[in-house]
């Protein structure tokens, strides 16, 4: 069937939460009312990335990208755009007055600075229709591998591409495959780590929701490369849309003979199953993930043996992250040489980041390795809201650290981030401005690790708890001389002694903030002062005598009677009574109250 218009509506988790399904329903109804339902095709897509502006809708052939579309906007879009051919300019994303609406995004840095490999199909195809994936060269890489390449040639190509694991560690993918391929075993397994857990990171979810077949295709290629005929996707149960679309995709792939016996008529057979994670962060750690699939409490175990030697049920197993897999088909089709042209010397290709925090364009972006933090924040991210000053970027989630403003021009790649005391991690990037207290930030991440520690080894189970208690003390204004040194002692030893990567990296948020913002810690401990004005226990409210008119309003509103004075003369706050609720500040009509 030929349509004169295609309407793409993002159905990622973000846009779904902002009523995308209702938009779809309203659109269907409106099209039917106008009798054009057979002329306009609605395409349910995955995430476009710019969640901040969602729900997002793109109308082709014009290529008009509408943002913040509300259900009540549908009638206007149908009447004006789809019936009369007039663009609804007020909803356009980017330049609203361009001649050719398809070019409205040309100057939008968020889109034009990205290089989309892993996210190539997200927001472009309907993830629930395998034909759309195939139309975008889907499964061609698998066909090429199976019919034109030996398993070793596949591994060599991946090695040559320089692809490194996108889940955090950055281990060379080709080497991992080679280790597993070298093992002699009656059974091997291919696993996909879709247990994305870093706070704020959602690139894996986006890929699974927007382009599930790319993961399936890549896992089949991996199976061929290492000699496995069974794969498992370990996906967190909190990703219901991703799970649903994966299930649909696996079913369709089986129907098309792209999973199952004798794929493409070759001797190679491969099938996939999904295993749901129950929400433990630690199950993103490879041995914990496999222990969980094995049917036990999800906890890491000591290595060696490494999973490539003894993984699932004691058999050689590889585990790669969703984003890593999403690169594989493209590398095989376009070649390692092409992939090598993108990125830096030791970090090839792109990386998807989930940018959040104090940034204008919250969302998901895929950038070539080597882009600077400055470009990410200002060109793609649209800068810091309210013109505030950039203070630091936190990458790598609870295992990572902060990159301060002084390093804003460092090219982002695996090794540079490590050198700065942070890490690539899975790609969470939280931007902080001058109003963020770095001790508070460290406490936030520590609290996460304390909750998510599996409890197996004491350095992580007890050590992170003790570190958190010290941070809590410091941010409550009860810091003691020696607390910073205790933090350092604990951090150093937890890094050295913890059983798994989660524990070994848990002190990083503290170590990196100590490295760059030690003065803030010292202000908390020695002066009981929070320079950023975040830690409430240390805030003090003062009345500025010159500004106070002596109206007595604050005194009347103060719930604890901490403010006294003579009418028409400056009032005073009794600090010993003040509970720092801030009511006085909100009440004062003369801005005569300040906090510091």
């Amino acid at each position: 069937m030929v349509y004169r218009s295609h309407v793409l509506i993002c159905n990622g988790t973000g846009c779904t939460a902002s009523k995308a399904p209702e938009l779809m329903a309203r659109l269907e109804k409106a099209l039917a009312e106008k009798g054009i339902e057979k002329e306009v095709k609605i395409v349910k897509t995955g995430c476009f990335g710019l969640c901040e502006k969602g729900p997002i809708m793109v109308v082709y052939p014009e290529g008009a990208t509408y943002c913040h579309v509300m259900p009540d906007d549908i009638d206007e879009i149908v009447n004006e755009h789809l019936v009369k051919g007039r663009i609804v300019k007020r909803l356009l994303l980017g330049d609203k007055d361009v001649e050719d609406v398809a070019k409205s995004l040309d100057n939008v840095g968020f889109f034009n600075r990205q290089v989309r490999i892993a996210l190539r199909n997200c927001g472009v195809i309907n993830p629930e229709v395998i034909d759309e994936y195939i139309a975008k060269d889907g499964y061609a890489a698998l066909a090429k591998a199976l019919t034109e390449m030996t398993p070793q040639q596949v591994i060599d190509e991946i090695k040559k591409s320089g692809l490194r694991g996108r889940g955090g560690g950055g281990f060379p993918t080709g080497m991992k495959w080679q280790f597993a391929a070298n093992q002699v075993s009656d059974q091997k397994y291919v696993c996909c780590n879709a247990d994305e857990g870093d706070p704020g990171a959602f690139m894996d979810r986006s890929i699974l929701e927007g382009d599930p077949h790319t993961v399936i295709e890549a896992m089949a290629i991996a199976g061929y490369a290492i000699g496995a005929n069974q794969g498992y996707i370990y996906v967190r149960a909190e990703y219901p849309i991703a799970v649903q679309r994966l299930n649909i995709a696996i079913k369709q792939a089986r129907e098309y003979g792209l999973l199952g016996k004798n794929i493409f008529g070759t001797d190679f057979s491969f099938d996939l199953d999904i295993r749901l994670g129950a929400g433990a962060f630690v199950c993103g750690e490879e041995t914990a993930l496999m222990t969980s699939i094995d049917g036990h409490r999800g906890e890491p175990r000591t290595r060696p043996p490494f999973p490539a030697v003894k993984g699932l049920w004691g058999k050689p197993t590889i585990l790669n992250n969703v984003e890593t897999y999403a690169n594989i088909p493209v590398i095989l089709l376009k070649g390692a040489d092409w992939f090598n042209t993108i990125g830096t010397e030791k970090s090839k290709g792109t990386k998807v980041f989930a940018i959040g925090g104090k940034i204008n364009n919250t969302g998901l972006v895929e950038i070539p390795m080597g882009m600077t933090l400055r470009e990410v924040i200002y060109d793609i991210g649209g800068g810091i809201p309210k013109g505030k000053k950039f203070k630091a970027a936190q990458t790598g989630g609870p295992s990572g650290g902060c990159i301060p403003a002084s390093h804003i021009d460092v090219p982002i790649d695996y090794d540079n981030l490590l050198e700065l005391g942070s890490m690539m991690g899975s790609g969470g990037m939280i931007i902080m401005d001058e109003d963020n207290c770095m001790v508070d930030i460290a406490k936030f991440f520590l609290e996460f690790t304390v909750d998510e520690s599996c409890g197996k080894c004491p350095p992580c189970r007890i050590g992170t708890k003790r570190m958190y208690e010290i941070l809590d003390r410091i941010t409550s204004g009860k810091g003691e001389e020696g607390d910073i040194e205790k933090l350092e002692l604990l951090a150093k030893n937890i890094k050295q002694s913890a059983l798994c990567g989660l524990g070994q990296t848990a002190p990083n948020p503290v170590l990196s903030t100590l490295r760059y913002f030690r003065d803030e810690y010292e202000a908390h401990v020695k002066e009981h002062r929070c320079p950023a004005g975040v830690c409430r226990a240390m805030l003090k409210y003062y009345i500025i005598p010159d500004k106070c008119k002596g109206c007595s309003l604050c005194s009347k509103k103060c719930p604890v009677g901490a403010i006294s004075g003579e009418v028409k003369k400056p009032f005073v706050i009794d600090q010993s009574k003040c509970i720092k609720c801030g009511v006085c500040m909100d009440t004062c009509k003369f801005a005569a109250i300040e906090k510091k």
Binding site: P304, P305, L499
Partner: protein
């Protein structure tokens, strides 16, 4: 021939077999690396991080798990490593309830010992302590999570060795706790009360339900005739509590100590073991001759019985109906002995000293009161007896040996070896020719059922009949054996099952040997030696030759499997749901 690799430990070249760990290699080179969670063959998980060493990796590695490799360079002792271990231990201590002075494991606590060895006198990282309720509702086992250091030895032994899985690690992070499903009291789980968790625990987080006060009270009660019976395994291990080498039998001193404690009579449970062989052997012969349910399985071990009731309820008919020796003896004391001595059975208070915590549960089973009174009134473990001896100020090592009391004092070697795995089977096979044919043979030592292999098999030809027997110790082995029987892969006439690995000598009520001892020796075999040694020294070594037992039949029970026996010496079993809906 195993292959060897050469590695360097602290600058010294060490040869170690392929597949061994850095911990083992270091040990062979005379270097002791501290461990805490590690319990060889039971808990090898590298969790506690006390044994960390530098192998040149990004972080320190657990020596207990790290495999040796050619050319590996290991440092086990450096300022960094010592500090890492100390910090970890201080962290463990910071979350441990330190009521050491009044702790049941004081002076026998692996955590305490490690703190001394690592020179810890100050804990720099004190913080929040978790406060958990103590579970003391079980008849046998008390769990105190406040003293738990989450080494998981108990979880491993319960799950992997015993395949009971009554406890697991639950919750996460600092709230992690070893608990039963849904935090139920242990008594509501399929826990079989074997107490292997207690003897695996490095701290005071697990202990037996203490009955010493009740025994003191009974001893103080002038209206009661308080008698005691001691199981064979007790004499093989109680010496350890008083500084004797493992495997030293101290029967005479133990009897002397019990008399000093004030028991009116000190009896030997072995006599009841001989009685058991008469009853059980007769039952087996009956089953063989009359197409009864086979294989018949022993019923001496109350942990095994509860395991069978929970996990193999379809095999209850395979269990011998014989009461365990402890309860047979109790019933004998309150019937035959009461009659003979002219004592009102209501006034007889029977105390058992057992190597076993499950015996405490067994004594409480309501059906085990066939005289109208409980067969056994109180059970104390070997450890509790040692405690009472110390409390009474008895100088155990300098006691003169004394003998068990009549009229049930004399037992055979067959009764003595009941305490080791294979012992019941050997005792039965010593008497089976006689019980089956009325004629004795010359066989005494049946070595094929001795030793600590998990499952042992024996075949004995008696008068043309090939009697097939099997022995399993440790419930995981029992499970393997029974699954084979159920699958029709193996056929036996008679099976001996003991809940505890090694049998009663390594029961849950025995003296606790730390991992540092257990990791380097076969405790099961060493303790069993004491029993086999005593067996060798006795005049009578076959149960059916025991003159006391024969007299008992003559004067009271008439014949094995007779009417009185059935009433007093046999019992029945119930199928138990693992987690019944309430």
């Amino acid at each position: 021939m195993s292959e060897f690799v050469t590695l360097t430990i602290d600058g010294k070249e060490v040869k170690a077999p392929v597949g061994s760990t850095v911990l083992e290699a270091a040990k062979s080179a005379g270097i002791n690396i501290p461990t805490l969670c590690f319990l060889k063959g039971i808990n090898e998980i590298g969790a506690c991080r006390m044994c960390v060493v530098d192998v040149g990796a990004r972080s320190l590695q657990a020596a207990c798990m790290y495999p040796v490799a050619e050319g590996l360079k290991v440092v086990t002792n450096s300022p960094e490593i010592r500090e890492a271990r100390r910090v970890t231990l201080e962290l463990i201590l910071s979350s441990h309830e330190k009521k050491c002075l009044s702790c049941v494991r004081s002076l026998n606590c692996e955590l305490q010992k490690l703190a001394q060895e690592l020179n810890i006198h100050d804990i720099r990282f004190e913080g929040e302590l978790q406060h958990y309720p103590i579970d003391d509702l079980s008849h046998s086992i008390v769990r105190d999570p406040n003293k738990c250091i989450l080494c998981r030895r108990c979880v491993s032994v319960c799950k992997n060795v015993q395949t009971v899985s009554a406890i697991e690690t639950v919750d996460r992070g600092y709230k992690t706790i070893v608990a039963s499903p849904f935090h139920m009291p242990l008594k509501d789980t399929p826990c079989v009360n074997c107490g292997q968790c207690i003897v695996a625990c490095p701290t005071g987080a697990l202990r037996e339900k203490n009955s010493t006060e009740k025994v003191w009270d009974a001893l103080n009660n002038k209206d009661l005739h308080v008698v005691v019976q001691t199981a064979p395994a007790v004499r093989a291990a109680i010496g350890e509590e008083f500084g004797y080498a493992i495997g030293t039998p101290v029967t005479g001193k133990m009897v002397a100590a019990l008399k000093k404690l004030g028991f009116a009579k000190v009896f030997d449970t072995d006599t009841a073991a001989d009685l058991t062989i008469m009853e059980e052997g007769t039952e087996l012969v009956d089953r063989i001759k009359n197409n009864g349910v086979l294989p018949m399985i022993t019923s001496c071990s109350p942990g095994w019985i509860k395991f069978c009731e929970h996990f193999y309820p379809d095999m209850l008919d395979n269990l011998s109906t014989c009461k365990s020796p402890q309860n047979m003896f109790g019933a004998v004391l309150k019937s035959y002995y009461a009659d003979k001595m002219g004592i009102d059975p209501a006034k007889i208070f029977v105390v058992s000293v057992m190597p076993c915590t499950a015996k405490k549960y067994e004594a409480e089973r309501p059906e085990l009161a066939s005289t109208g009174y409980p067969d056994v009134d109180e059970v104390i473990t070997t450890r509790e007896l040692a405690q009472m001896i110390r409390e009474a100020g008895i100088d155990f090592r300098n006691l003169e040996d004394e003998e068990f009391d009549d009229p049930m004092g004399e037992a055979t070697g067959a009764g003595v070896i009941f305490g080791a795995t294979g012992g019941v089977m050997e005792a039965a096979l010593r008497s089976l020719p006689f019980l089956l044919t009325g004629k004795d043979d010359d066989n005494i030592d049946i070595n094929v059922v001795r030793g600590t292999d998990g499952i042992k098999e024996a075949e004995l030809e008696i008068d043309g009949l090939k009697v097939k027997a099997a022995v399993a110790h440790g419930l995981g082995n029992a499970r393997k054996l029974l699954d084979k029987v159920k699958a029709g892969e193996a056929e036996y006439h008679f099976i001996e099952i003991m809940a505890c690995p090694g049998g009663c000598v390594c029961g849950g009520g025995q003296p606790i040997q730390p991992a540092s001892v257990r990791n380097d020796m076969n405790l099961m075999a060493e303790r069993a030696k004491a029993l086999y040694q005593e067996d060798q020294s006795l005049t009578y070594r076959k149960s059916h030759q025991n003159p006391r037992v024969l007299k008992m039949y003559e004067e009271y029970f008439e014949k094995p499997g007779g009417h009185k026996s059935h009433k007093l010496l046999h019992t029945h079993y119930v199928a138990r749901e693992n987690y019944p809906e309430k």
